[in-house]
């Protein structure tokens, strides 16, 4: 099947049901992903600061996308380890938007409930929950809730740091809330509807 470039989509040459996994990911990614252009050179895997902890290098993940290995890809810990340092993105000789593809894969994994370790997805969701409630980040709430849930044993070890932060005034005890929270909620609700229709 031919690669579905934007050009082809615009020309109506590809239908929804023809989408390969690769193209599905490509279309769900912000901007133009150039995912189909990957030449498997390994620049991304070589650049990645956390590659050692990944079960697959980003390059391998792209090969697996091509091979249609949906479940294996969505179960991979690779996207969750991505630290968004963009080293791979600026070095990629084919201008693949690797970091954005990782965001897409995270979203797909959450939707398919295929992630293996829930730490990262829960952290993201907790964070987003705070933002959707207050409009601003709330570090103390986030940190305690997250650590309680995932690293309860480590929490005592982290206490001096947390206390230090609080005592130095670097962690607010109460969250800040924006003035027009209602407006933000309306925007986000509409955005979520749009997300579903796309």
């Amino acid at each position: 099947m031919p690669q579905m470039t934007d050009e082809r989509v615009r020309a109506g040459m590809t239908r929804e049901e023809d989408l390969s996994l690769l193209n599905e990911v490509s279309m769900k990614t912000a901007g133009v992903s150039h995912l189909e252009m990957c030449i498997q050179c390994g620049t991304c895997g070589g650049s990645c600061p956390v590659a050692a902890d990944m079960d697959h290098t980003p390059r391998m993940l792209f090969a697996m996308l091509r091979a249609g290995m949906r479940e294996e890809v969505l179960r991979s810990n690779t996207p969750w380890l991505c630290v968004s340092c963009y080293h791979c993105v600026v070095r990629c000789p084919q201008e693949v938007h690797i970091a954005d593809v990782m965001y897409t894969l995270k979203g797909m994994a959450i939707q398919a409930k295929l992630y293996t370790d829930s730490t990262a997805p829960h952290f993201s969701q907790t964070f987003v929950g705070m933002v959707e409630t207050f409009g601003r980040g709330y570090e103390l709430g986030l940190a305690t809730r997250h650590y309680l849930r995932h690293f309860p044993l480590r929490l005592p070890g982290m206490m001096p740091m947390g206390l230090g932060m609080i005592s130095k005034g670097r962690m607010a005890i109460v969250p800040k809330k924006i003035k027009h929270m209602d407006q933000l909620t309306k925007i986000l609700d509409r955005a979520k509807e749009l997300e579903l229709t796309s």
Binding site: T104, G107, E139
Partner: protein
Amino acid sequence: MNKYLLYPGCSMDSSAKAYMESLNSIVEPLDLHLEEIEDWNCCGATEYLGINLIPAYSLIARNLALAAKQTSDTRTVVAPCSACYLNLAKADYYMQERPTLGAKVNEALAAGGLEYKAGTLDVRHLIDVLVYDVGLDAIRKAVIHPLSGLKVVPYMGCMLPRPDYQHRWSDHEHPTELDDLLRALGADVIDYPLTTSCCGGHMTQIGPETAFELIHRLVSDADERGAQMMVTVCPMCQMNIDAYQNEMNHFFGTNFHMPILFFTQLMGLAFGRKPNEVGIGVELVSARNALAHIGVEVPVTEEPAAPRKKDEGLPMPRRWTKHEGKKEAVK
């Protein structure tokens, strides 16, 4: 007069309040006018993008829409936080690159009575504005108390120079903006190959071992090169290296003591502000000893640098910069 809209970001009044305080201390000597975007919201950091695409971009775009509405005498938004800067710049860029995304985001914004036409605003980071608009000459002129003798490694972090949608930085890998600025303050700047390597980002929350490894790389290399402190432009970098250094030492059985300050704090000191006016003292890895090297109250006289041994080896090519041929400020 240099007027800008300010997008502070959530950390500026909590974990990075030293950044905010020190920023406030330099606006006057540099004739900077920062007007805060009214009722701005969180940019979503690196978290929202991984969950929902359109809501994530709509969240960011609300800020752009508010800014565009508020602005009359400037179209530049300044973000001191690298992650905020990247998110704002990225939303602006992708809304143009993928018009369908732009249209959807605007549809969502419309639910809140807002709209944003991508490309209307210039999104820039604080240091970009300081180096290229204010200029190193003006900064040099404002220095009262040069930081001579303070050995620093400039740590730019990753999200600032990359992916660089607007081609603002001298280089993606080894940008020199922070080096140049610190040199203008009189500090001894050490060439730091890891200047744009990652601090671990949110991995401190979700995979601490991974994050500790990254922090360790940064701190040990800085230490190896004889740095007395690291200097950063990003709240996340500061937080990770400062607040988690102790844990990292535990994890590796090391004993590093590498303070990390915001560049604005050093600017404040160089402009003659008192340590407490620029938020010094709230860092968890204390900078007291490092700052003693420049004797914040009693400046140490500068020792003449030892003449360099004549290089007998083969000549080296000049170092490259995207702005080759032009002087430092090109914008």
